[in-house]
Amino acid sequence: MTRDVVSLLQVVVVALGGLLLTGLMAKIRARAEGRVGPPVTQPLREVAKRLGRESPRATAGRAHGAVPMVLVVTTAVAAGLVPLVGLQTAGGAGADALVVVFLLLTGSLSLAAGGLATATAFGGMGASRAMALSALAEPALLVALAAFAVPAGSLSLPVLLHHGLSVPIAMVSPSHVLAALALFIVVVAETGRLPVDNPSTHLELTMIHEAMTLEYGGRDLALLTLGAAMRLGLLLALLGTLAVPWGIATSSSPLALASGLILVGVKATVLAVVIALAEVHSAKLRLFRVPELLAAAFVVASLAVLVGVVAR
């Protein structure tokens, strides 16, 4: 019962937190550039406003309309599955890192298919780029997760995090640090932040994620925005929790859950601020330089596994 509560709580927190973090990152960027910028709650308001509007759809097929729903639902289930606030979620031992990865992948695949379904040049362009980059990010992602999993011998997130909590010194082991670094780069790429993709661009030719969403409006767009924000919130919180598992609620007492909630919020916010500050100082990479970045993430992840052999 408490497990279900934890899961529901996480879905709500990831949804709200993701939207607020998106707003926060835009705010930090605006301030650093000397502008006032929109309020932090702006994405929240936009989603709420658009949810009440009708959705213009350009194609007759069902694929186009189903995409926002698939994106939001898969991300929401992933958010309910991953241990963020409490160690035990509704998923129990089924909260496997691979299930989470492939749920999120399902969302991105449906987004790409939606981009192609609109039959416009930009939709196809975004889908093509997003798929190529996600293919290149996958080795780094899986190897980094494997590096996290090796000490516990399991990809099950509760088991893995429990092991991390019981051996605190492992948090500063080189392989742990490298795995976190690799996962950080992957998260930046997968959430479409600079230097991989510019979430605030208005130039269609440079878009990746935004290009796939150009043909959506109204409620559909609200769901897409929500889905992207939840993805950001979830990945940041997951990265923070994997890197520093300390603070996650191991019992189901309200106090433990409350502190777990606050701490996971702090971890995600810290990461968001770091990414936002890095964004201020970096320009978007040329599309064909991004593989270099992802190759760097891959080599760091591989080092994490290999170094784990010599520095146990």
Binding site: I169, V172, S173, P174, V177, L178, P291, E292, L294, A295, A296, F298, V299, V300, S302, L303, L306, V307, V309, V310, A311, R312
Partner: protein
């Protein structure tokens, strides 16, 4: 060995390797020199932590020496060379950056497999890290082989040297001071000579990329 010092040695030794690999990633020559400086510091940290755990004064002195030479004098000299040619980049290495990174991962894997018996040379937990030194050497070699700019090749050479030093620190836990002194001075000499040479060549030829030197030879 206490837990903390052990963790520091682990992290610093891995940092030496990771910085070597990062050398393959960055194209900006000045950034390369910066990486070299950090690598020197990480190397000194390995020596200092080992010295602290084993109460080895000689090794402590070596650590200071490493900081002075490898994180101080050498990068400064190279930095001057790099600054005299602002905007100089390793624009077209022989093997492109993603491939050389993947290759580096393979080389590290090879070093870990082949270097496993190194552990038998010396007891202790630090000795198990020795393959990292081997991996750094191989990475430096890769840098040396695949880059066109003379300066990046000097950096590759120095990464190799750092890898050898890392291996000796980890395996022998205390090189005789005189050996390390000699090694460091050798490297210093090489850098000074190269710097003089590069300066002269630039004065005569403008820019230094090794391919162009080949043309001169032909």
């Amino acid at each position: 060995m206490t837990g903390l010092a052990g963790a520091v040695i682990d992290l610093a030794a891995v940092a030496v390797l990771v910085i070597g690999v990062a050398g393959l990633w960055r194209r900006d020559l000045r950034a390369l020199v910066g990486l070299l400086r950090i690598q020197g510091i990480a190397l000194a940290l390995v020596a200092a932590s080992t010295a602290a755990t084993q109460h080895d004064v000689g090794l402590g002195v070596t650590a200071v020496l490493v900081v002075v030479v490898k994180a101080g004098v050498v990068p400064t000299l190279l930095g001057r060379v790099a600054r005299s040619d602002p905007g100089a980049r390793e624009s077209a290495p022989f093997i492109n950056v993603p491939s050389s990174l993947v290759l580096a991962a393979a080389l590290v894997g090879l070093a870990v497999v082949v270097g496993a018996p190194l552990h038998a040379l010396a007891p202790g937990r630090a000795a198990a890290l020795a393959p990292l030194g081997l991996a750094t050497v191989l990475t430096g070699y890769l840098l040396l082989v695949t880059r066109r700019r003379a300066l990046s090749q000097v950096v590759g050479l120095l990464v190799i040297d750092n890898g050898v030093a890392l291996m000796t620190f980890l395996l022998t836990a205390g090189v005789p001071l005189i050996v390390e002194l000699g090694g460091s001075l050798d490297v210093l000499l090489v850098v000074v000579v190269l710097r003089a040479l590069l300066g002269t060549m630039r004065a005569r030829l403008g820019n230094v990329a090794l391919d162009e030197l080949r043309e001169l030879h032909d």
